[in-house]
Symmetry: D2
Subunit: 359 residues, 4 copies
Amino acid sequence: MAANTFGTALRLTSFGESHGRAVGGILDGFPAGVKIDFEFLQSEMQRRRPGQSKLATSRNESDEVEFLSGIYEGTSTGSPIAFMVNNKDVKSSDYEHLKDTFRPSHADFTYQEKYGVRDHRGGGRSSARETLARVVGGALAKMMLRHYNIEITAYVSSIGTIDMSPKNAWPDKQDIEQSLVRCPDNAASEKMIELIEQTRESGDTLGGVVSCYITGIKPGLGEPVFDKLHADLGKAMLSINAVKGFDYGSGFRAARMKGSEHNDQFVKTGQHIATKTNYSGGIQGGISNGETIYFRVAFKPVATLMSDQQSVDQQGNETTIIGKGRHDVCVVPRAVPIVEAMAALVLADQLLRQRMNQL
Amino acid sequence: MAANTFGTALRLTSFGESHGRAVGGILDGFPAGVKIDFEFLQSEMQRRRPGQSKLATSRNESDEVEFLSGIYEGTSTGSPIAFMVNNKDVKSSDYEHLKDTFRPSHADFTYQEKYGVRDHRGGGRSSARETLARVVGGALAKMMLRHYNIEITAYVSSIGTIDMSPKNAWPDKQDIEQSLVRCPDNAASEKMIELIEQTRESGDTLGGVVSCYITGIKPGLGEPVFDKLHADLGKAMLSINAVKGFDYGSGFRAARMKGSEHNDQFVKTGQHIATKTNYSGGIQGGISNGETIYFRVAFKPVATLMSDQQSVDQQGNETTIIGKGRHDVCVVPRAVPIVEAMAALVLADQLLRQRMNQL
Amino acid sequence: MAANTFGTALRLTSFGESHGRAVGGILDGFPAGVKIDFEFLQSEMQRRRPGQSKLATSRNESDEVEFLSGIYEGTSTGSPIAFMVNNKDVKSSDYEHLKDTFRPSHADFTYQEKYGVRDHRGGGRSSARETLARVVGGALAKMMLRHYNIEITAYVSSIGTIDMSPKNAWPDKQDIEQSLVRCPDNAASEKMIELIEQTRESGDTLGGVVSCYITGIKPGLGEPVFDKLHADLGKAMLSINAVKGFDYGSGFRAARMKGSEHNDQFVKTGQHIATKTNYSGGIQGGISNGETIYFRVAFKPVATLMSDQQSVDQQGNETTIIGKGRHDVCVVPRAVPIVEAMAALVLADQLLRQRMNQL
Amino acid sequence: MAANTFGTALRLTSFGESHGRAVGGILDGFPAGVKIDFEFLQSEMQRRRPGQSKLATSRNESDEVEFLSGIYEGTSTGSPIAFMVNNKDVKSSDYEHLKDTFRPSHADFTYQEKYGVRDHRGGGRSSARETLARVVGGALAKMMLRHYNIEITAYVSSIGTIDMSPKNAWPDKQDIEQSLVRCPDNAASEKMIELIEQTRESGDTLGGVVSCYITGIKPGLGEPVFDKLHADLGKAMLSINAVKGFDYGSGFRAARMKGSEHNDQFVKTGQHIATKTNYSGGIQGGISNGETIYFRVAFKPVATLMSDQQSVDQQGNETTIIGKGRHDVCVVPRAVPIVEAMAALVLADQLLRQRMNQL
């Protein structure tokens, strides 16, 4: 009972292995009448793409999205939108030496145990290439969210031990995107780049944290018990490769605070009821309260190293994995559009669901 | 499109408001042939119950579970198991003064915005009393997991600023349960109790962190893309009232580590393939690898204070909420069985789902 | 992976065995703000009840519905509505002689094979008493449908070999309900009653056909591919105990017609586009077109006879089942409110879903 | 909330419009380790294809299935199987004259009302070309069912007013496939062919009935309440274009029978418990009993005529639709593999689900 579908009212089903014929998906439940902005879509793909800077892997993936259905004369029809991206730059032979080997902290061993068979090439289904489908689905969701003035912005707040300095305001998209590592703090950004270069030289890898904030959400989104808005966001983020943790609003910090510090006082601002502080992260009782939603996502360091590692093969024999191939030292900057895409899918889903809660 | 159902193969649907007629649920998909251990069930209810110690609220809830279906001669039949707990100790008048008021950092405002109507008494559906259904469902899931030797153990690892000291081994259930605050570190436990007493006197409240580890899981549980084992666990935890964050294995700490430190080397141990370290937290590529699963859950401080707070009513008029009633200073010790219950539901669900992945 | 939940946006989960503690259910996704008409609910229960006339079983079931949640001050709150009906008149000993026996054309054998264990008393979960939950869920759905002026009317069109005569107009609810067998054709109604009396004397049983029509549906309900409106209605009806067939509009008759006869010509009527004929039964391409929806449901004769029958027990030994107990000769008149209830659940579900198809 | 996904454990999501880029789907939940029989797949596609005989439409569709994922070295991996068929023979201009017109008894009007926009070319999403995805999904399901010796056989039992004569035994696949109209009764087959030729000359169309039987099913498949095996089969069939009715076992005929005639007596046959007669159609209480499952599916006559018809356009103006283009007089023979495919999907789904009902 594999589960390659995400969402309730708006559902993304993804398919594809790293070195198979193609990756792609079907977005079902997308409302009719949304104008499809193909240029924006391609720019989102570009943001996710490897090889976008000297810092990232040199693989050349053009990643052109081909739409197969659900769009007529540039507008969504309400029918399922199927799309695919061909796998062009397939060097399966790069992986031949790994056919029987379990790479440390990869999914090789667990897939073998789960299915009794696996497509070892490039990690097969466990490859981060699967996130292509998420970025396409997310870009479509963003086109829908525009109609509600909902804006999602993610950025890198730390890489390894380098943290961005705390700011008083949420960063601009422009300041984020002009940084090679998508960190809007210039000083931190430069240190992160330096750290990445050093780490590459030592054949090692890095993790980091992506932060995300969302504006324009009206009160009322999110379901109160199991499908709380932050629970859906959390699951969305935790489903991204290499993610190890999620918190929202005051997050783990809340555990150390007193109730009198943490409570967000309600005040009337113009015609709206707002809160003075926002430790709640825009969500109370699982439902949006109209304030800015924000959360953090922790990524572990890349598991594929450029240095040699000990492991075992399928028979349990010891083996050495030689560090080679084309791999990122740190994928966190490239995770930024994926975090946004998953957030967009959750919000679009909950927006549609909210239409059904009153008579 | 309210979502009061949790799970895919094993599904818990919960119902009930704090001051309604009853709370309860239906557990569907529970396999036939499981011997129901009513004594164990009641002990789990007892662990969750308020008023279990001088530290907790003095509300008197007997919380007897009444089973309505699905069990015949003490054994599950495969039919849905419905259960309920009557709401006996209902003092709705305690909440009359809050009818039109939005309590800070509660769900009053967001429910009103979502539904246009709400049952204000005791928080209605947003009350933590809803977790009764989770504990019953979780107890049943644990009875099923016993057949697979799967054991789930949660404990309090911090309250406010008091942290448990790091240990070399996972704590025993007995050491946990003999602490009033369910913290297996004696010294920390005493400090936590002291902190709770002090905080009570100042009319304030506390949050904390619950840690959980799971043993006996075979490799292969969890679905690889969206329903990753840790993503399902994360959603389960984030759906519990007052939870602000979740991480597993190395968690947020992973973001600061190098790949060479973080990778878990595979080794052959007897007939099994194991890992030397376990930063992966027993899950790789979303699928269990046979090592111990562990994760942390952050709880915010209780929002109901015993001191006065400013707020607004439904018309936006300023109002003062008087601190009174019977409320916990810190619910984290009582959250321990709820964390275990939700973990049990996830594991039982994924165990059933795993039966379908091979021919 | 038992499936005791019906519906997508509006979901009824039912529970309960014939001789267990109670039967009932949870209706989730029901919108907030619907005034609950308890009197109407009880009248629907009354329509379903056994013992309502000299023709039906003499079991005395008071069937009072107790609501446990989701309703506050007589209005739905958007939270799940749980309800139960106690099983009062439990004579399990009536079934002791059947403990190890498989009654012909009942579910005894198949339950035993499926689960390896069963609650044999009164058919357990396979009892028609389960339909109580459907009638409650359906009554709530009807309260919601009233706001859209949607009216569902079912009636008995045949019992055994007695058919109602064809009419030019759809029958009135009043004409239906004043017949003991819920057949609006007086002459046929009398013959049916006579046939039932005769059949009772011979210890035999009867089946029949329930017809149903639905008015007030706007164009656009129903999903175009798998969840076609008539496919959902068909599944709903086929899930009722003893149902053997379903057709809608021209139904099986369509297979013998020419396209030139069968096509429904579009015409403009006032401001609306309508069809001249209605062989489509109000549904085209799986979606309502605004015309009257109508369908037929075939019920097999009751399997429990008052005469002796040969069978085998669990060990395969031959055994004789003695015809005794309190059983209906023909349940078709009592199926009328159940057919309506299931139709109401489908329509309310599709009404909610239709809110999401456009931007 | 469009629903283009069918199934619970095994899920087919279909996509594609008649004149879009491609049609196809994703089959998720298909177990790992199934050898893919590409030759068989193509033969199933061939059975569905138009233009297979002089009786059918002359459209030339090569319908080559391209697999995009989920298969490695000829074996399923447990990952989603995506597939597509290009739309090669696209003559959209054939439909230009219908852009604003609502064809009688088609889905033009209802799609327009539902979505506010539509792809009118060839019926868009409502085209029978969508059934390609069902046949591919069904062929994969059949490959899985082979491992359980489950065999599904459908055939044409009537076209228009020509019925096949009743037989004592279920027909052979070979006798079915050698008939141009897939009717295993030679005499009836010839009359049906004659009727089709006559009807073509008059510019008219025909409907008919497809019958289906299934052998090799063990007792225990099907869920007892809402997802009864026959309810799932019924929904599957009713979701096929042009289907107006479904019954199983004794079907509508049961309504006229007495219980004493209709009950299927249990007997011990060798080591198995069997029934003497099989009016139950192999399903009791919604669960398979091990006997042969059989059912009937009624198809209305094709709505596209070769003669002129009156209708209205989107503005409600009267218009005449000229009969032209390439269309089948009767699609019932081509529906045979589609009926089998949908039955295969239901059985494979229920087979997987049945793995979860016991401890």
